[in-house]
């Protein structure tokens, strides 16, 4: 099943997006560039603040760790030098999670791609300056097999979990793994994830030419962003 992405679900935030993967749903809001507190101000670039909010209760050390991972990912996406002494604020609210209780380490890594995709889409919606387009995806290794975009059941009793993000040019922007695996397996996983993420951004007509384009899934990111642009420009048709 390909993930679903809805842009601009919120009214007050500058940019927002809801992203649903096989496991989680995350609602993201991006505000910026806004005024930054003196303490966090950076003289030559925009500060990035990421807040992750669990679906119930308040965040703890796990959320702080995920925030730091997402912050450094966003730093590689945003053209921070365009807004010095300002703040880009991203809030990620988890609204749905798997009904099965997962092991902590597994759950943390499994959540990262959903957070990353939601955050990226919210930044695009808010018109914040981005250097590149990216897609994140998850894979697990289960009984020696690589399963891309796993479901709840795949996560239970898997050997390792891998979250990765790639840019449109195939550059790796994020990699977090947990569990038992060797380098060879990791390389195998990263290649599979690279293909999956590239397929999500592929241009129409490009993916058919590629071998097995159909089974890698449709370019959902391109579709969702395109749809948003078309909707925003509907008035140009004079209708």
């Amino acid at each position: 099943m390909s993930p679903s992405l809805a842009l601009h679900p919120l009214v007050r935030a500058d940019g927002s997006a809801t992203f649903t993967s096989n496991l989680y749903t995350v609602l993201a809001a991006a505000n910026g560039p806004v005024e930054v507190s003196r303490r966090d101000e950076l003289p030559e670039e925009a500060a990035i603040e990421v807040n992750i909010r669990p679906s119930s209760g308040v965040g703890g050390p796990r959320e702080r760790w995920m925030e730091s991972v997402i912050t450094s990912l966003l730093r590689s996406l945003l053209l921070v030098h365009l807004h010095p002494r300002m703040l880009v604020q991203v809030t990620l609210q988890i609204t749905a999670e798997p009904s099965i209780k997962l092991k902590r380490g597994v759950a943390d890594v499994a959540l990262l791609p959903t957070l990353a995709n939601a955050a990226f889409a919210a930044l695009v919606d808010g018109g914040l300056p981005l250097e590149r387009t990216m897609v994140a995806a998850l894979a697990v290794v289960r009984e020696g097999e690589v399963v891309v975009e796993p479901t709840e059941k795949d996560l239970v009793g898997c050997q390792s979990v891998h979250a990765m993000a790639y840019s449109m040019k195939g550059e790796m922007l994020l990699t977090e793994s947990t569990g038992r695996f060797d380098l060879e397996l990791w390389e195998d996983v990263s290649e599979r994830l690279r293909e999956t993420t590239m397929a999500a951004m592929a241009k129409a007509g490009e993916d058919e030419g590629m071998e097995g384009g159909a089974e890698k899934g449709e370019p959902w990111l391109r579709h969702a962003l395109k749809e948003n642009v078309v909707k925003a420009n509907a008035w140009r048709e004079g209708g």
Binding site: P84, R132, L221, N228
Partner: protein
Amino acid sequence: MASSTILLPGETVPHSQLPESKKGTLTLGPNLRHLPQAPPASISILPTSSGLLQSDAKKIALWLDTPHARYAPSVGDLVVAQVHHSSTETYHVMLTPQTPYALLGQLAFEGANKKTRPKLEAGDSVYARVKAAGRGEDVEIECVSPNSGKADGMGPLKGGTVFNVSPAFARRLMMGPGKGGFVVLEELGEKLKFEVAVGRNGRVWVESGSVRATVAVGRLLVGCDEGGWGVEEQRREVRRAVREV
């Protein structure tokens, strides 16, 4: 000029989309950037957001619109600003919430000198033009045209009220009659008497002398922005609003 090229952040603008230029210059508008370190003989222009590529063959310009982005001040824009506080020689005014205050010189009004300058209180609104907006420096605005030294419709806004619309919609409003697919103000102008001042920062000031008419104008503006009404729907809504007033 309409084009159908939709780009994603970081995708190179196709060469076929670059406007022909005799002088060999090209003006880049919002949301596009040029990478100078690209290999010679190839122009590498990258969008920083996703949007529809817009081009103007006459001005040899290229830009990208972002529908929901926060307003970013640019020189020459007309804005509706709100005074926050004043210091000895300047007013500190708000263009958009949660951003640093812009500066408005107390003498930056038509024919203003130390004695005749307008006295503004916190909360007052002014219609002004962006004078300076550089990266990393304070935004400055003025209520006097730099060429003529005249107010040209700018200055303090008395009475009426201010409605919030999206910056993209404000831009459409400013395209002028017949353009931007927006007919509400023209249609309504035939039936009602009112004044509007459209700020690019998404604030629209409306005054008509009657509460009912002002509310009607404001509701039509906000409704059109949020509902994405087509021209026919706009006409229908205007007729309904006029009946109610």
